[in-house]
Amino acid sequence: LTPSLLQHNKRNSAELSLRSLLDMGFTEYQAEQLYDSVSRMKGGNAAKHVLSTLSVLFVLGLNPTTVHKLLDKCPELYTVKDVQLQQRITQLRHLGLVEGSLQRTVSHYPKILTVPMKSVKSVVQFLREKCLFTTQQVAEILRDSPAVVLEDLDQLEYKFQYVYFRMGVKQAEMVKCRLFRFSLDNVRCRHTFLERRGLYQTPDKKGQTTIINPKLDGILNVDEGTFTADVAQASPEEYDVFQKLLAREWKEEEFEHGSGVIR
C-alpha cells in the first residue's frame, strides 16, 4: 500500500486525509497540524465527522487560517458534531449576534460553540429575567463577553447584584464597560479599595452620593498600575498589601458564613 493509495481510500470514505484538508484550502503546514491533532484524539470518532464540522465553519464564512487558529485554541471543537454546531450557531443568530459580530465572537472565543444550547438558554434567561437586561443588551453581552455562558449562575447573580446594589451601576453601563469580562473578585477588590479610601459611595435610595463616584469603565478597563495610581491615588505597595488582606478577609468570611460570599 503506497501512501497515496492510503490517502485515497480515506478520502473515499469521507474520512479525514491530508489531501481533503488541502482541498479545503488549508496550507500544507496547517493541514498537517490539523491532521495530527485529530489523529491524536482519543476514541477515534472525531475523524469521522471532522470534515463536515469544518464545512460548517466554512459556511459561517470563516477562512481556513481562522478556522485553523480557532481549532488550535479550542481542540474540543473537533468532537462537536456538525448538526450540533449548526444548531448552536443558529441559536446565537437568534439571540441577536448579527453577521460580522457572530464571526468575530466565534473566532475570539470558539469555546462558545462547545456549550450545549440548554446552558446558553438558561444564562440568557437569567440575564433577561433576573437582571433585566434587554434583548439587545444580552446580545451585546454575548458578543463582548461570551465566556458568561460558562459561568456559574450563582456567581453571575452575585456579581450582578454587587455591581447593581453596592456600586449603584445600571444595566446599560454594565454592558458598555463589559462587566462580565471581569472576575467577581477583581471587581470587588478594586471597588472595596476605592470605598475604603473614601473614593466610592453606594448611592442612597434617591441614587445620590456626597462625592462623585468614578465610572465603572475607568475602574475596570485600566491596568492595575493605572487603577492604583490614577483612580485610587495610592501606591503600588498599598494595593499589593490590600489585596492580600482582602483575600484573607474573604476566606474568613466564607468560613464563618459557610459557603457563598455574602456581605
Binding site: R196, R197, G198, L199, A234, E237, V241, F242, K244, R248
Partner: protein
Amino acid sequence: GKWAATHPKQPPTRMALQHFDATYSAQLGALWPSIRVALLSERKYGALLNHFSHNLDVEELQAQGCKDFISNGEGKLHTASKRKLHDNLLLRSAPSPLRLSPNIRCLVFPRGDITRFRPARPDKFGLLSYYLLDAASILPCLALDVQESHTVLDLCAAPGGKALVLLQTQSVRFLCANDLSVSRTSRLKRVLQSYVPKALLTDDKLRITSFDGTIWGEIERNAFDRVLVDVPCTTDRHSLMEDDNNIFSRSRVGERRSLPQLQAELLLAGILATCPGGDVLYSTCTLSANQNQAVVQQAVQLAEEQHGIQLQVISLCPLAQMFSNTFHFAPNLHLGEMVIPHLAANFGPIYLCKLRRLT
C-alpha cells in the same frame, strides 16, 4: 449633624466614619484616603517580649521573619538619618535625648507582611512569653525615658499594656498604676500577674489604684519623676470596627463631646503630679487634633495660668526619625508626633507629646 438626624438607625461605626470623613479630610488632607483604608483594614500587632519569661517562642518568631523594631531602629542611625539626627541634636544642643532601655524589645513582622502572631504561651513558671499590642504604643513608653530608680505614675493605666512596657525596663523603682474603672484595674492586675514575677509586684514596688485621675493633683503633687497620661479618647480604630461599646453611639454623644475637656484635666493633673524637672508624656490613640495638640496647648496654658508651672515641650523628632523605617509619622505636626496608619505598616494611630516641668 443633619445627616444623623434623618438616619436614626445608623450604627455607631458608620457614625464614626462620617464624623472622621468630615474632620480628618480637612485636618489631614491628601493623607486621609491612605489612612482611612488602613483603619478599615486589619491592623498589625507587635509582640512585646517578656523579659521575665524563659522565652522559648522568640527563636520561632525570628525564624518567621520577625524583628525587634527597637534595636532595628537603632541600626538605622548609622545610615542617612544619622546626619539628620545630628543636626537636630545640635539645634537643641541637648545631650542625647535617645536613651532607650535595652530591655524593651518588640517583635514585628516586616513591612507589608500580614502574618499574624499566635497567642503567647506560658513558660514553666506560668509567665507568658509576649504581650500583643499595637507596636506604636511602645513609643510613648520609650519617649518617657524612665531612668534607674525613677518613680512613675501611670494615670490611666488599664488594661496595662504600657504599664507592662514600663516594667520591662526594670528601671522603675516604684510604679503607681491608676485607672478610674475598677473592672479595668482588675484586668490590669491580671495582666501584670501573667507577665511579671510576684517578687516584683510587691507593695513597695507597685501600687494599683482606682481614682478619678482628674483629682490627682489634690492627692499627690510634685511626686513623680515620670508621669504617663494615656487618656481615654475616641479610639479611632475601635470606633470604626466595633459597634459594641462604641463612643459614637447616640447615647454617648455628651461623653464624646466632653472628651477634650476631660483629657485636658487629666493632663493637668498629671503635670501637677510630676516633680519639677520631671517629664510628663501625653498620649492618645486618635488622629483628632482637638484631642491631641489642642489638649496639650490647653493644659500647658492652664498649668501656667492656674498654677504658675512652666513647661517645655521636648521634641520627639529624633525618636520619630529613628523609627521611621517601622512607622509612618504625620509630617509637619507643630506639637508632638503622631504615628499614622498605613496599609504596609498598619500601626497607630498613636499621638504622643512630651513635656518637661521646668518649675
